[in-house]
């Protein structure tokens, strides 16, 4: 079995006296989509924030691409090749679509390649090309999510961290976004996907982890989790 690209070992983290993560471990191998599903407040976003450096791990380690990145600052994590699509998208609402995308490439200095990558983003999400001069804040929720994904890709990362890409997005655009995530993965991108919409996430993921009150309670292939009675009952609902 190859060495995982991202490896989180026994991470404990929290906010003040509240312990949000009580020893979380998970691995993502190169080329995989791994999803972390769970209810509100289970610790999904906290896990991601420990990887991206926005939250400090009190115990445990995070390794990425062979290097120990535990406790790194967010801006150095990006340098390591881990790009983030944050929760609530966090695009720059008062900057144009183009300026948002350019900031995604902030760490790069290869002007020519940045230009070709911009064209790639406009090809991937044509709506961004149409609205390149428009302010980010005037886009719809789904379009903003596309912009956040495009912006993260502009750093040419080795891996993408995605936090709730379906949140606040119209269903038709959610489908489009998830199809894009799968396409990105087929072209070789490794993705850790945190998602409340377990059904959607497990449909495109290779493997999944289920987190409950700060601990991983299940880990399996995505299709097995989709058929697991416990997952079905707790996260997929009867409408499936």
């Amino acid at each position: 079995m190859p060495e995982p690209l991202l490896s989180i070992q026994n991470v404990v983290a929290g906010y003040g006296p509240i312990e949000a993560l009580k020893g979380v471990s998970l691995n993502v191998r190169g080329g995989e989509i791994v999803t972390l599903i769970g209810a509100n407040g289970a610790g999904k976003s906290s896990t991601l924030m420990c990887v991206s450096g926005l939250l400090r791990a009190r115990k445990g380690t995070v390794h990425f691409d062979g290097a120990d990145i535990t406790g790194f600052k967010p801006h150095t994590i990006v340098e390591e090749g881990l790009a983030q699509v944050p929760e609530g998208r966090k695009i720059f609402p008062r900057l144009t679509v183009l300026e948002n995308l350019e900031l995604g490439a902030y760490l790069r200095r290869d002007k020519q390649a940045i230009k070709t990558d911009l064209e790639k983003m406009y090809h991937l999400f044509p709506i961004l090309g149409e609205r390149r001069k428009q302010l980010g804040g005037t886009l719809s929720g789904g379009e903003q999510q596309m912009l956040a994904i495009g912006r993260a890709l502009m750093s040419r990362p080795k891996m993408l961290l995605m936090d709730e890409p379906s949140m606040g997005v119209a269903p038709i655009l959610t489908a489009k976004i998830f199809a894009t995530i799968r396409d990105l993965n087929r072209e070789g991108m490794t993705i850790l996907l945190v998602e409340q919409n377990a059904h959607l996430a497990l449909k495109i993921a290779h493997r999944g982890y289920v987190i409950e009150t700060g601990s991983i309670v299940l880990e399996d292939k995505a299709e097995s989790l989709l058929n697991d009675p416990r997952v079905k009952e707790a996260y997929l609902g009867d409408d499936d």
């Binding site: 600052k73 340098e79 900057l95 005037t138 750093s155």
Partner: protein
């Protein structure tokens, strides 16, 4: 479309203003005494440079600095100590100015290092305190700074062996205009540089900026250093112009507030806005009030015994009133940056977007 037209108008207005600025010393002698303005322009240029310095910190990076006058003072006193005969250095204008600018930048970093992690109001209070500390230090360190007397005389810039004196008004005018033009160019390049983009990203959303790989501590420190360097430049030129460091009280809180008014009323984060702000506020301060005083004196309406009849005494009340009116009717300033305009007119934008969606 409207944006493009508005931009074109601003660009043309900018060239027009530059043309007028270049012609002022030539036309000025032709004007009747009460219309002469060239003598007042020097101060306006200096305030414009100070405003552009503050614009880097407050306009681009979004850090409220209430003590920018301290860096102007540091510039003025650095220039004075480097050049005045009573100190060992005795440099000329052209060798003292670069050092003055560097000292300003270092002072910016010194203030920035311990305070950079503070946010919003807390940072504003610290910068305000810094302004007071610098002033008091200059006042009390009188065996070095001559206390409240100021350091003088100071050498003026020399051109091919000729030192400018107070009679060379036209040369001074063009020298200060050239300095201002240089500072405008530096500001423009900074704004569009990598570090400039990181400043704007931090102002817009610091967490999102760090997720793009921006190191916020470094970016803010560079902003502090650049803002302080420009403010220090204005101080050095000011000292050279008046051949005097000025006394510490010349760099008090009111100067910081005037600089802030220039940036806010003009348009935060926009160079043309800051220039316009400097001309409106500086122009009012040194031209309108001055002319009004002369006019009223001629009419025999000024009684020096009665403070209420001297227009200059109404200055800060009028500034305060103008600021209130500006905040009420044009909170984004006269020539705002695009982002500021977007924020303060968000409701209208939303409505427009809504209408557009409805139409589609």
């Amino acid at each position: 479309m409207a944006g493009g037209i508005r931009r074109a108008v601003i660009v043309h207005a900018g060239w027009f203003m530059l043309g007028i600025a270049l012609l002022v010393p030539i036309l000025d002698p032709l004007l009747p005494l009460e219309w002469k303005i060239a003598g007042h322009m020097n101060r306006i240029f200096i305030f414009a440079i100070l405003g552009l310095g503050l614009n880097v910190v407050t306009g681009y990076t979004g850090l409220l600095n209430l003590g920018i006058a301290a860096f102007m003072a540091i510039g003025a006193y650095s220039y004075a100590i480097l050049t005045c005969d009573i100190y060992p250095f005795r440099l000329g204008f052209w060798s003292a100015m670069p050092i003055t600018i560097c000292i300003g930048a270092i002072a910016g970093v010194v203030l920035g290092l311990p305070t950079i992690r503070l946010r919003g109001d807390y940072l504003a209070i610290v910068t305000l305190g810094f302004g007071e500390i610098v002033q008091d230090t200059l006042k009390n360190l009188d065996n070095i700074t001559q206390g409240t007397q100021g350091i003088n005389p100071l050498p003026a810039p020399t051109f091919w062996g000729h030192a400018l004196n107070t009679q060379d008004k036209v040369a001074w005018y063009y020298l200060l205009l050239a300095f201002l033009a240089l500072v405008v160019l530096v500001s423009r390049n900074l704004e569009h540089s990598r570090v400039g983009r990181s400043w704007i990203a931090i102002r817009e959303d610091e967490i999102a900026a760090t997720c793009m790989g921006v190191n916020p501590v470094k970016a803010k420190l560079v902003a502090f250093a650049m803002g302080a360097a420009l403010a220090s430049t204005s101080g050095g030129i000011y000292a050279a112009l008046f051949s005097n460091s000025g006394e510490p009280g010349n760099y008090d809180f009111q100067i910081s507030i005037i600089a802030l008014c220039i940036v806010i009323i003009g348009g935060m984060g926009n160079i043309s806005g800051v220039l316009l702000g400097a001309f409106v506020i500086g122009g009012f301060n040194s031209i309108v009030l001055d002319k009004l005083t002369t006019l009223l004196q001629q009419m025999g309406m000024v009684n020096t015994q009665n403070v209420l009849t001297v227009p200059g005494n109404w200055k800060y009340m009028i500034f305060g009133f103008a600021l209130i009116l500006a905040m009420r009717f044009k909170p984004e300033g006269l020539l705002p940056s695009r982002q500021l305009k977007a924020e303060l007119h968000e409701a209208e934008e939303d409505e427009r977007a809504e209408n557009a969606r409805g139409a589609a």
